[in-house]
């Protein structure tokens, strides 16, 4: 052995870098684990003994450097999830008698009154019982617009109070809150394996044992311990195993931070294969809250009289149009006439008798006919004209005379047309609308949103929506269904991919859906689809890279062209490469 100064220096480096590795190896050996660290230490000692001290130095330094780089980049890919965990409420102020005490967020029980001051995180899901505040819900919904919460509002954990004072009755606490569920679902989704990774896992089952036998074989054949050790170290499947998970968690985590929960695994492959998106109309494409859009008075009456008569008839009605009419009366400052003897006539409308004995009625032409109220051809034309615009129109009569009409409509969400256009841009050929509403109203909304009338199915009962999805599938379409997750649950379950909007409100929807939007922002749908595509692309790239590198190195080792140091470098570099590639998914292409 020629122990020159350089050699001594190399040995010193190997010892300095190798000491922590040796420590790690010994710790793991005590746990009965044959670690890579052990292989590296053995290989380094071997290298020194055969006079290749430089190789020992390179291997140990590379191992330490690689480990450091890996932990840094891994921490980055995990940062999206970590940010969610960090944003988790830790403490809560709870009212106990007259006192307000600060407790751990996990000690709050259902029914507790929680106090939220400016700057506080809302620690529970619940209902506001007093006070009002402006809440930043972005960590849950991904939406930057603050929400104004007053008495009766439902708030979710993880929101931050920007100002104001709230007292909240806790409904879901601790681990059951929307926010905790979100964190769990993201972590679980990251663990789900897409098909490409599952193939790899089957391969890995026999991979490790066969590498060990193969390296033993290499030694027996070549009697070259150095070669056998090199083979063993190089073949270690680091990049193979890390390839998919790091990309998944970076991609799913970053999308969760924007309020879009994409489930991982095979679902990702299904999302990418979608060519048809079916939307529920009411509450999904539209706001779901019908609003009075017109009050028209016939000759001899005023709009105020029309509203007042309609409101008095609707006072006791629970029909969904009643609340729209009553809301309009309140907004216009019109007091309903005192009334009694309400008579609800299903399919027609409602009739009441006012205090001064006049009959007030709101309903369709069938009701007017039944009551013997004359409707002139001009008045009928006004009704039909509005109905053609997609409105639901109610005639109003007072004392047996038609005095006016009220037009009610459910408006599209402001971002619905844009979201549909973006889906088309993303290559979704067919956009379908399914609704229980009448065809005319459906066609009107469809036209406003750019949905072809052939793709509108109206007048459907919930189970008929399931049939509509099945029809599309039978025709070869791969269908994603978008709905609120409650009324549409059967259709969502039937679709190839289910997308629930406003899922922060309903936990069941959040758990069942393939994609759960925590907000009602429809633009998140095309974004989620293109993001899923990116995730799957990166996963596939990573798997290909990892498999390629290992095959290349093993061939190189056997051919005698790859040595311990250079092989180690390529090996570490490949782990780093898949992690860095996964990190690209932390960035969103554009903000919506």
């Amino acid at each position: 052995m020629n122990l020159s100064a350089v050699n001594w220096l190399m040995i010193a480096v190997a010892i300095a870098a190798g000491a922590p590795i040796a420590k790690e190896a010994v710790t793991k050996l005590r746990m009965r684990q044959f670690s890579i660290a052990l292989l590296v230490v053995l290989a380094s000692i071997g290298a020194v003994l055969i006079g290749e001290a430089w190789e020992a130095a390179v291997v140990t330094v590379l191992y330490v450097l690689g480990g450091w780089l890996e932990s840094r980049t891994l921490a980055r890919t995990r940062s999206a999830l970590k940010e969610l965990v960090d944003a988790m409420p830790r403490t809560a102020r709870v009212r106990r008698g007259d006192d307000i005490v600060e407790v751990s967020a996990y000690e709050v029980v259902r029914g507790d009154i929680v106090v939220v001051r400016p700057g506080d995180l809302v620690p529970v899901d619940g209902e506001v019982i007093s006070g009002s505040a402006s809440l930043d819900t972005s960590s849950v919904t991904g939406e930057s617009m603050p929400m104004e919460a007053g008495v009766g509002a439902r708030v979710t954990s993880g929101s931050v109070s920007l100002g104001g004072y709230l007292e909240i009755r806790a409904e879901q606490v601790g681990a059951d809150t929307t926010f905790s569920q979100l964190i769990y679902l993201v972590a679980e989704a990251g663990e789900q394996k897409p098909r490409v990774q599952r193939t790899l896992d089957r391969f890995a089952q026999w991979y490790t044992p066969s590498v060990i036998s193969a390296s033993a074989l290499v030694y027996l054949v070549s009697r070259d311990m150095h070669l056998a050790l090199t083979f063993l170290v190089i073949a270690c499947p680091g990049a193979l195993v890390a390839a998919a998970p790091v990309a998944m968690i970076a991609g799913l985590g970053s999308s969760a931070r924007r309020g879009v929960l994409i489930k991982g695994g095979e679902r990702l492959e299904r999302i990418v294969g979608i060519d048809t998106v079916a939307f529920d109309k009411t509450g999904t494409l539209t706001r779901g809250r019908p609003r009075v859009v017109a009050v028209e008075a016939f000759e001899g009456s005023s709009p105020q009289q029309v509203t007042a008569a309609a409101a008095s008839a609707e006072l006791r009605s629970e029909h969904h149009l009643a609340s729209a009419i009553l809301a309009r009366a309140e907004a216009d400052g019109v007091a309903p006439l005192p009334a009694h003897d309400w008579d609800l006539r299903p399919g027609q409308g409602v009739v009441a008798v006012t205090e001064d004995g006049r009959q007030a009625a709101v309903g369709n032409t069938a009701l007017m006919k039944a009551l013997g109220v004359a409707v002139s051809p001009e008045q009928l034309a006004a009704v039909e004209g509005r109905e053609a615009e997609g409105e639901t129109v109610a005639l109003v009569s007072l004392a047996d005379r038609a005095i006016g009409l009220i037009g009610i409509a459910d408006e599209p969400r402001p971002d619905a047309a844009q979201a549909i256009a973006a889906l088309r841009d993303a290559g979704i050929d067919r956009i379908v609308m399914l609704t229980g509403d009448n065809r005319r109203a459906a066609l009107h909304i469809g036209a406003a949103l750019g949905i072809h009338s052939d793709h509108i199915r109206a007048g459907l009962m919930p189970d008929e929506k399931v049939g509509a999805i099945r029809d599309l599938q039978a025709a070869g379409a791969r269908v994603a269904m978008v709905g609120d997750g409650i009324n549409d649950a059967p259709a969502l379950a039937m679709a190839d991919v289910s997308i629930a909007i406003g899922a922060s409100a309903t936990r069941a929807a959040m758990e069942a859906a393939d994609i759960a939007l925590m907000s009602n922002n429809l633009m998140r749908i095309p974004q989620a689809m293109s993001h899923s595509r990116r995730i799957l692309r990166v996963v596939r790239q990573n798997v290909a890279l990892a498999v390629g590198v290992v095959l290349f190195l093993l061939a190189g080792v056997l051919a005698g062209r790859v040595h311990l140091a250079s092989g180690m470098a390529v090996h570490e570099a490949s782990i780093l490469a898949v992690t860095l590639n996964g990190m690209r998914l932390l960035k969103q292409p554009r903000r919506g």
Binding site: E24, T27, K28, M31, Q33, S35, I36, G67, E70, S71, L74, A75, T77, R78, L81, K82, V85, D86, M88, Y106, G174, A175, D176, S180, I183, Y184, V186, A187, E188, G190, E191, C236, P237, G238, V241, A242, A244, P245, V246, M248, I249
Partner: protein, 80 residues
């Protein structure tokens, strides 16, 4: 009497997939632990255990013996 708890324990130092598998086995074989799953991508240990048999500290000890540290704990609902 048992006190089943579910937790997601966020780890730092979980840098190699093989260590993840080893940690998973070590925690699984700890008496009182009914379920343990290491999620490498997330860097977390998802564990369900009976707190009357094995205190959390014992699990934390297994984690640190494997050279990792706990950065955060996210309690989950045991019913899941």
């Amino acid at each position: 009497m048992s006190d089943i708890r579910r937790e997601m324990i966020m780890l730092s130092g979980l840098n190699c997939p093989t260590c993840a598998a080893k940690l998973e086995k070590a925690v699984q074989s700890t008496p009182g632990v009914t379920e343990a799953k290491v999620v490498f991508g997330a860097g977390s240990l998802n564990v369900e255990y009976d707190a009357t048999v094995v205190p959390y500290e014992r699990i934390a000890e297994v984690v640190s013996r494997m050279g990792m540290t706990v950065t955060a704990r996210v309690p989950g609902s045991a019913s899941r």
